[in-house]
Amino acid sequence: MKKYLRITPEGTKDFLFAEASAMDDICGKIEKVFVSRGFQKVITPGIEFYDVFSIPCSGISQESMFKMVDNKGRLLVARPDSTLPIARMVSSRLKNSALPVRLYYKQAVYRNNPTLTGRRNELMQMGVELLGVKGLRADLEILSTAVKAISSVANDFRIELGHAEVFDALSKELDIDDDYKEKIRVSIEGKNYSALNNLLDRLEPCKAVSAIRSLPSLFGGEEVFTKAFEICEDTNAVEALDYLHKIYDSLIPLGLGDKLIIDLGLVQRNDYYTGIVFTGYINGIGDAVLSGGRYDDLLSVFDAPMGAAGFAIDTDAVTIKQLADSDVSYSDKPDVLIFAQDGYEIEGINLVSQLIEGGTKAEFSTLPTLEATKEFASKRGIAEVKVVG
């Protein structure tokens, strides 16, 4: 039988040296933002019951989860997302705590992606959740935290902002079933104009139909609102737009300028979003690196109804970008290697400690002879070998 002894499973990788340091560096910067804004760290289990993620609005498909069975025959999954476990935790263990609670996490999620697409099946994510509160202040806090976090690790970024209620309200005006609504949503999400037109042409023409037709093209700066108000007449949709406009205006003083984009076609697959939704992009990465939004209905699935919002950052992607730009060097080499003659080992170790305290990167040679130490030093490109004793 073939043994897969020396390779890692598809979609996973080892992080070596500079990769691991860069990852620590990126996570450290983001963590500093989270901690400074009063978020507290939580760690949830790497495996959870399948039931936590199979709720109707989870947006996580059955086939994308790695499954296991426990010894009672219950279905378990390798955590595919961190928000749902946190919702579970808040609804049980934090049920009686003072609200709102501010939580952050740094943990991997696992997705069983189709093979040979180059997608990562193990993704490190950092994110925050602000639970137990709704409204403008909470949304601004989450959004400004997202902006701070992404700008702590990248200069050239965009945050795009939408509102789940715009599409929801408009689609309620149409006489369609959930399947048809989902088809429309998918074509808006993919900015697939021809598919969207095909779907809408089959419906009775009305104001809502023509408003939905325009949704995917409604992205850009403030001018989007002018256009959107012209075509949206539904009360709830207009209310959502008003709210979004208010958020947009409030964020302008943060100095975001053209880094902030409005996208009314932002109708994400995670249909647990109920209010603002947002994603972040960094120049040089072909996919969103940050995504989040408000999910006020999710906690009632866990019998603890409360407002909630949060976002997650794909720190692996940011790390890859950082390494590619690599103006920061992650040197892992010592400046000097200390070799101790027989009987002088402790002196050697003491010297290493002294040098390190003095700011020199020194390393104690664990090889048995001076020759072996010198050969190792030249292989690794270590400039100096010092002998003790």
Binding site: D156, G190, N192, Y193, A195, G286
Partner: protein, 209 residues
């Protein structure tokens, strides 16, 4: 900033796309005289073109190494996942069809039908919609052969004129979907380079109307 990079499907679509670029005023001489080069500048270095096989166009765009792509809807339906489909370019038109031997009662009887196809995902989705279990066999070459030699009850394939089917005694019993060339965009690129992409999209849209 680097010029926009557009992945084009090699072959039939490539030629029509280049004609379209010329129509909206870009000099495509470098692409026409490409020799063995795979990355080619267009116009006054306004953007660059990458030539790839259809399915690879999607891969390059999805991973963001190309900002835009021109690819057939057939490939999108079979391989597509996450990108923006911006524009129906209106050329490269054909259809997916379900075909059987002439006069064959495909929907009759209660046995599970076998379908031979180069497009297993399209076929699966088509019959899923009908709540119909079928056995799908992937064929790499001429699919028309499969029902003739008795491998399958029918085929799902691209039909342009229908002459190959006719010559082999097959007939279309149902149209699956229309196909044409599409302009696709990487999700991040569209957000980060909105103005450039929209300008090009508008020109292309005007030229194809």
């Amino acid at each position: 900033m680097n010029p926009l990079r557009i992945a084009l499907t090699k072959g039939r679509l490539e030629k029509t796309t280049i004609e379209l670029f010329e129509k909206i005023g870009y000099n495509c001489d470098e692409v026409k005289n490409k020799g063995r080069r795979l990355i080619l500048p267009v116009g006054n270095n306004d953007f660059e073109v990458v030539l790839a096989k259809a399915a690879d166009v999607i891969t390059y765009v999805e991973h963001g190494v190309c900002d835009l792509g021109v690819v057939g809807k057939d490939t999108i339906l079979e391989n597509g996942t996450s990108f923006y489909e911006l524009l129906d370019l209106g050329f490269g038109k054909c259809k997916f069809a379900l075909a059987t031997k002439k006069g064959y009662d495909f929907y009759g009887g209660y046995n599970t039908k076998t379908i031979a196809t180069k497009y297993p995902n399209v076929t699966r989705a088509f019959f899923d919609d009908k709540n119909m279990d079928v056995r799908i066999i992937k064929i790499e070459g001429s699919v028309e052969l499969a029902p003739l030699v008795g491998l399958s009850d029918g085929i799902v394939d691209i039909v342009e004129t229908g002459s190959t089917l006719k010559a082999n005694g097959l007939e279309v019993i149902e149209w699956v979907t229309d196909i044409s060339a599409r302009l696709i965009a990487n999700t991040a690129s569209l957000k980060l380079r909105k103005n450039e992409i929209e300008a090009l999209q508008n020109k292309l849209e005007a030229a194809t109307k």
